[in-house]
């Protein structure tokens, strides 16, 4: 069966801009957990003056990364002290080995947004 206008593909890949929080909501010393309208949780970071965002659920131990610690541009999971790069989501320290999804944070009109 053909799909001459490619509608399905377009819908599957369509990203929506989603609001995370106000700019001032993210403390400098700890991540902020945000639950999006579809119940998907992300973790928002303020690190050296810039904002970052990743999925909240650790790919290793099912911990909330927002309850972890940010150091040297990495989020350290509170369960087993594995880590991910908060910019790319790549694992940096074992036992984490699968990347987490990272999002580019858009700052607009005093709000922080991501596309997903």
């Amino acid at each position: 069966m053909t799909d001459p206008i490619g509608a399905t593909k377009t819908i599957m890949e369509e990203k929506s801009v989603q609001t995370l929080c106000r700019v001032g909501d993210v403390p400098a010393d700890e991540p902020l957990r945000v639950v999006l309208p579809d119940d998907h949780a992300v973790s928002v970071y303020l690190w050296e003056g810039s904002y970052f965002c990743t999925d909240d659920l650790c790919t290793h131990g099912e911990a909330s990364l927002a309850e972890g610690y940010v150091e040297d541009g990495q989020i350290f999971c509170p369960f087993h002290m594995g880590s991910f790069c908060i910019s790319t989501g790549e694992p940096r320290a074992a036992p984490c080995s699968e990347p987490i999804r990272a999002y580019e944070v858009i700052e607009r009109d005093g709000m922080l947004l991501i596309e997903r």
């Binding site: 131990g61 610690y69 369960f79 087993h80």
Partner: protein, 407 residues
Amino acid sequence: MATQTPTIDKAPGRWARKYPHLGQEPLPVTPYVDPAYYEKEKAQIFKKQWLYVSLERELPEPGSYKVRRLDCADTSVIIIRGKDGAIRAFHNACSHRGNTVVTESGQETYGHNRAGIVTCRFHGWVYNAQGELVNVPHEDRFYSCFDKASNGLTEVHCDTWAGFVFVNVDPGPVQSLKDFLGGYADHFGGFDFAAADYGFTYHTTLDCNWKVASDAFAEAYHVDTIHAGSFPNVFQAAIEDVQLFGPHRTCSVRLQLDTPPASTPIGDLANERSRSSLAAQAGSSSLPPTLNPNQDPDWAFELSVLFPSVLLHVSEGIWFTHQFWPIAHDKTLWEGKYYLKRPESYSELWGFERAMVLQRNAWLEDTATMEDTYRAMLSGAKKFQHLQDEEILIRHNCVVVDDFVNA
């Protein structure tokens, strides 16, 4: 129990008259040197009674935890504040293969985790502050008979009083902390322990039985001789206001106002600028009516024993503890912790520092006797010790410990 009326009997033998059941006879040395007696103390006292293990303020926020090693009860306990604010305590033993969950760095280990969890570093089992096992790496490789829900940490009884955290490792039902403290809690409960959180701590391990160490601090008879250097002619050798509260006990120590110690310019200046030393005349603004109830000018501080092995001292703007943790029948960890209110000026800070150095010197003088006493006891030369009436707190301890051991 209501606070008892202070006695006015000053004649020798007054405490024996007030507490005739404690007897007057010499007391045997055996309970101090016999390893079998110590094993009974562990079983009947340290594994069955409430033990002071932390201050609430040592666990300042959700996820804060402390591990206290309890050699006297063959365990160590994790005391953790949960996200609900409640403080709970658990054996520091993993359900997997029994490793300590929190790796201990000494007798007291502190940590914090924002997730309110502790993780065993051996294989990564994760427990929350309710003790529940919340994460097992490679859980799918365990057999079907493994039940995660029933393999949390082993909880121990935990309760608080006046900012102090206690545990009781007896696995069965126990007397409530309130009932255990009884009149002792009424006597000291009005004192604002939280107001004084600035101070110092010392600890050392001593080659002596825990009762030798505790006894050395539980009378004022030794002050004239042992503390001739740090507190010359400062305190009276007789104690006042002796009260027994079940296994606990208290008294007040008095200043020698009739023959005051030689003053020094530094000491006078320090005492004028700060109330930080037991050697200075006390006011009573921070004291509840149970302490120095007659506002006696010579009242210096309250010397009490919180059974089994904590000495709690309270004075105007000051409180401190000596805690004696048995490690073996002939080895004791001593911890001294001294607290003042935070200084508000540099002159007050200077006065505080002087007071703390003075107190440190006194503690060094005290602890210097303990190993000597114990070596002499081990010689077997003396089978009994002879206590005078003003050493009634020691006699009470001997009787109470013996009652528990032989219960």
